[in-house]
């Protein structure tokens, strides 16, 4: 992870650490904080505790998003401090809706100059963000909202498993991981397990990201904690509640960052600090899918 972040995440670029509640690569975000990156544009539909931590650590200059919240808990205190008080630095906001962010990733992924969607009419969002515009449907149905492509410099995407070529299996909330992978200029995939190519090839429908898009594969078990990876570990809700408490003031936030990010050399140290008990508590009971038979055709 250290090498991947050093190589692909440089000051001033745009980074999308995507994942809708699940597969959020905290390991990558923490490494970016440790390496002291500055002036990043952080892109994500739902900035949650990870981007809250990154904003508090001062790595971000701008946020491109559609929903700011600590999911199921409440507001993001650090991002609110940045927006409302400019602490630790001011933060520009570029705001869409979920549908708009998805359409932007799709436009970039498919090489289109914009995409239309049924949204934004009757709202103040186009006033808040002049890149949300309306065009007249050339086929006569009336005005339709359009959004421009969103092409992150780097996407960092967590998943269950990949082979050494970067072909990536992901199951559970697939979110917009595929669209972001195709939209981004560079892709770093972070997985729980590196597996043999035959494992991937035994279930090709499950390959969400093809290896040709992937610039680096990082193996980082529990790398998405405190978010979750379907079938591997549960969301650590206790953490999200704890974050709501510690992030309420600047001092508490700093102390947390010192203890859990800046004061640790890497993810291994983080997991040691977390303790085997916590990790064991988060392991779900197995619920394997029924076998799928692709058949052999000679």
């Amino acid at each position: 992870m250290r090498e991947a972040v050093a190589e692909y995440v440089t000051d001033g670029i745009s980074v999308a650490i995507e994942g809708f509640t699940a597969f959020i690569c905290f390991a990558a975000g923490h490494e970016i904080i440790r390496q002291g990156r500055r002036d990043l544009t952080l892109i994500r539909m739902t900035p949650d505790a990870l981007y809250d931590q990154m904003v508090a650590a001062g790595v971000a200059r701008k946020l491109v998003f559609s929903y700011l919240g600590n999911p199921g808990v409440g507001p993001l205190h650090c991002i609110r401090r940045a927006v409302e008080q400019g602490v630790p630095n001011s933060l520009d906001l570029e705001e869409y809706s979920h549908g708009g962010m998805i359409a932007r990733y799709q436009a970039a992924a498919t090489g289109l100059p914009f995409l239309p969607l049924h949204s934004y009419a009757g709202t103040d969002l186009p006033r808040a963000n002049p890149d949300i515009r309306f065009l007249e449907d050339p086929y006569g149905s009336g005005p339709v909202a359009v959004v421009p492509p969103l092409r992150p410099d780097v996407a960092i995407l967590h998943a269950q498993r990949a082979d050494s070529e970067g072909n990536t299996h992901l199951w559970g909330l697939v979110g917009c991981q595929k669209e972001v992978a195709f939209a981004a200029a560079k892709v770093v995939v972070v997985v729980e397990e590196l597996v043999a190519s035959e494992v991937l090839r035994s279930d090709p429908n499950r390959t969400l990201i093809p290896g040709f898009l992937v610039d680096a594969v990082v193996v980082e078990p529990f790398g998405a904690h405190p978010s979750y990876v379907q079938g591997y570990y549960d969301r650590d809700n206790a953490f999200y509640l704890e974050w709501d408490r510690v992030s309420r003031d600047e001092a508490g936030t700093r102390a947390w960052l010192d203890e859990w990010v800046l004061g640790l050399p890497d993810r291994t140290a983080y997991l040691e600090r977390l303790g085997t008990k916590t990790l064991a508590r988060l392991r779900p009971e197995p619920a394997p899918a029924a076998l799928v038979d692709y058949g052999t055709y000679r």
């Binding site: 809708f20 509640t21 699940a22 539909m45 739902t46 998003f65 559609s66 929903y67 700011l68 919240g69 999911p71 199921g72 507001p75 991002i79 609110r80 927006v83 409302e84 705001e95 869409y96 809706s97 979920h98 549908g99 708009g100 998805i102 990733y105 799709q106 969607l117 049924h118 949204s119 934004y120 009419a121 009757g122 709202t123 103040d124 969002l125 006033r127 808040a128 149905s141 009336g142 005005p143 199951w171 559970g172 909330l173 697939v174 979110g175 917009c176 595929k178 669209e179 979750y228 379907q230 549960d234 969301r235 809700n237 779900p284 619920a287």
Partner: protein, 256 residues
Amino acid sequence: MSEPGYTANEMMIIAAARALEGVRRVFVGVGMPNVACNLARLTVAPELELIYESGVYGARPARLPLSIGDPTLVSGASAVVSMADLFGLYLQGGHVDVAFLGGAQVDRFGNLNTTVIGEYGQPRVRLPGSGGAAEIAINARRVFQMIRLSRRSFVAKLDFVTSPGHMPGATSRERAGLRGGGPELVVTDLALLDFDNRQREMQLVSMHPGVSVEQVRAEVGWDLCQAAQLRETPLPTSEELRLLREDLDPTGLYRR
């Protein structure tokens, strides 16, 4: 008012569940709407399927989901799809019968604000933003809102319109080309409100037991009109309360 044998939140959840009678596909968030939809499935809408914006259709959660991305929504669901499919094919494709929305502010035409209190550029309070609410409000066939009555929420003018209700009223939605029907029902802790008039303006339609019209009007920041026939919301039944307390929300997270 004497102490009823249920909480205001329980009344809200039960009233929202009853409104789902006969509905097939509901777009739902976490919290009270989620509990209401699960209650509806056990009572008035056995064929109801839950759609979560995280990409889940036909969830069968084994525990109370704590967020719309809870892994318990995935395991055992009928389908888990990408968000592009969820917003494109399921929602924009017109397959959502009812969607639940809430907000920090709502106005008399059911327009909602979940973005900022104060000026957008210099907000007093920065709220979460749209999420999927803008598209949901536009594309769902019908929208139900769940919001506690208070003058802070029911305001004459929104600080920001995040998702459209009936816009400036009457036929504004049709004229703007919005596909879904817009808000139909507002479930509150004191009463039910609907928009069943020519202006599509919010009106008082059903009082929860023991609540007075004056009580409701005192919590609304404009001169609230009322339906020609004002009803009283039927009391929660013992079966509704039992399901809610024993099966759906045993720890009381959402009903207290």
